[in-house]
């Protein structure tokens, strides 16, 4: 990304009909945590156009390998071995180089390593559940993990989360900041989940479902899932009345 000219245009307006609204009563916690007044809109200023970027040098050798990054020497996490790979692009289809991705997930039994987590499924002593990576010059990324299990959660009496991996994504501007969740192709639990259903449009939900990718599967080792991520695109600054940087 270093030899590419940084972009300074404002980001496209966010399509808030595509994202979940703040207030989604089927997901009960949102009821008291959702702003009730209208958001106040304004075009991006430098405060939103700019954003922190992170260098590959911050990454440790095993950051993108959840099977081994918490495991004792010679041991590994239990579960179905998978590779998650994909590309971070913006709404114009341009690859986003140098995007920091952080991910976290439950273990293969559906248990998180967290003091607030009380599910009776066992902890895996070799699985921490966090990882991170930075996209390459064309926006591609990959990491290795175990497929997370589904887990019950206190919402309805019998609500279960479909298997999922949480993603936190940084683009090049703070207005692109995004947290989301990736689901797995073929999981019937997806369509019952109140958190998934906070997204009104079925096509938007489908954008969060990673596809099984047998072509990138490593025979006798790990299956692969493809999960592309789209961040907000930028306007061209060519006809802005005040050229930024001039």
């Amino acid at each position: 990304m270093s030899n590419r000219k940084p972009e300074t245009g404002a980001f496209f307006q966010r399509d808030r009909q595509w994202h979940p609204p703040a207030y989604t009563p089927e997901y009960k916690t949102s009821v008291v945590r959702s702003p009730q007044r209208a958001l106040i809109s304004f075009d991006n200023t430098l405060s939103e156009i700019t954003g922190p970027v992170f260098g590959h040098s911050m990454l440790g050798e095993l950051d993108a390998d959840l099977i081994y990054n918490y495991a004792k020497p010679g041991e590994s996490a239990i579960g179905q071995r998978i590779i998650v790979r994909g590309r971070v692009v913006d709404e114009r289809g341009k690859g986003v180089a140098g995007a920091l991705l952080e991910f976290w997930q439950a273990n293969a039994g559906g248990r998180y390593r967290h003091k607030r987590e009380g599910y009776l499924a066992a902890l895996d002593p070799n699985f921490g559940g966090c990882g991170r990576t930075i996209t390459d010059d064309d926006g591609y990324y990959r990491f290795r993990t175990v497929k997370p299990g589904a887990y019950p959660w206190p919402n309805g009496v019998n609500d279960w989360r479909p298997a999922h991996i949480h993603f936190s994504v940084f683009g090049h501007g703070f207005a692109q900041r995004l947290i989301t969740q990736m689901y797995f192709e073929g999981d019937p639990m997806i369509w019952n989940c109140p958190i998934v259903k906070s997204i009104p449009d079925k096509a938007a939900i489908e954008q969060l479902i990673a596809a099984l990718d047998m072509n990138n599967t490593i025979p006798m080792d790990a299956r692969a899932y493809k999960f592309d991520i789209v961040l907000r695109g930028r306007r061209s600054t060519l006809f802005e009345n005040r050229m930024e940087g001039n």
Binding site: M58, D90, G129, C130, R132, H166, T180
Partner: protein
């Protein structure tokens, strides 16, 4: 039929959930040995230019209960008003200041706390100066898409009065929800997700 514009749709947001710490601040939730430090816990070092300040506060839900499972990120200019970002073309920001910080609310006290510097002024797109401000992004269980707001400072009245963003807020009685109050070397900025004191959140 007309030509297709070909734009993609932004990946939809999903809540950060109750276990956001595992991915974003693993050391904070006792997952140690994976990353040396949690990212964003330190914005300054002993060479950072500008006035050192603490920005702290709590995030309240609609019942008045402070959130003990939220995660906040801030993004701000350095003391001279420059962002530490490749998209900052006006100059080079203080290399000893990251401009970006991340802090979970305390699991007991519910407080967040950033050790930072007072930001300088940054121009609006028409060249007028914006008052010193810090962008804040809040995620948590029950928040479906990250909430964005700004912190302004109560001892910058003159600049605040001329700020192009604050000026456009129709309901003037809501403007104080964006202004942190000085308390010694700290500024206190409490955030109300809903109710009479609901903080102004931005779509930007």
């Amino acid at each position: 039929m007309v030509q297709q514009l070909g734009y993609l749709k932004e990946t939809p947001s999903q809540t950060a959930g109750p276990y956001v710490h595992i991915g974003c601040t693993p050391n904070f939730c006792e997952i140690t040995g994976v990353y040396e430090n949690d990212l964003g816990i330190s914005m300054v070092n002993d060479k950072t230019l500008g006035e050192r300040i603490t920005l702290r506060g709590r995030v309240f839900d609609g019942t008045g209960t402070p959130l003990r499972d939220a995660l906040l990120e801030i993004w701000q200019a350095d003391s001279k008003g420059l962002y530490n970002s490749p998209s900052e073309l006006r100059g080079t920001a203080d290399p000893n200041f990251t401009g970006w910080g991340r802090c979970p609310t305390d699991m007991e006290t519910a407080e967040y706390r950033f050790e930072t510097v007072k930001p300088g002024q940054v121009p609006f797109k028409d060249g007028r100066m914006m008052a010193p401000h810090v962008t804040v992004w809040i995620v948590a269980r029950g928040i479906n898409i990250g909430l964005q707001t700004r912190v302004y400072f109560d001892d910058e009245k003159e600049a605040n009065d001329k700020d192009p963003i604050l000026q456009r807020i129709e309901h003037r009685n809501r403007v104080p929800t964006l202004i942190a109050k000085r308390d010694g070397s700290s500024y206190v900025f409490d955030i109300y997700l809903q109710g009479d004191k609901e903080t102004i959140f931005f779509d930007v």
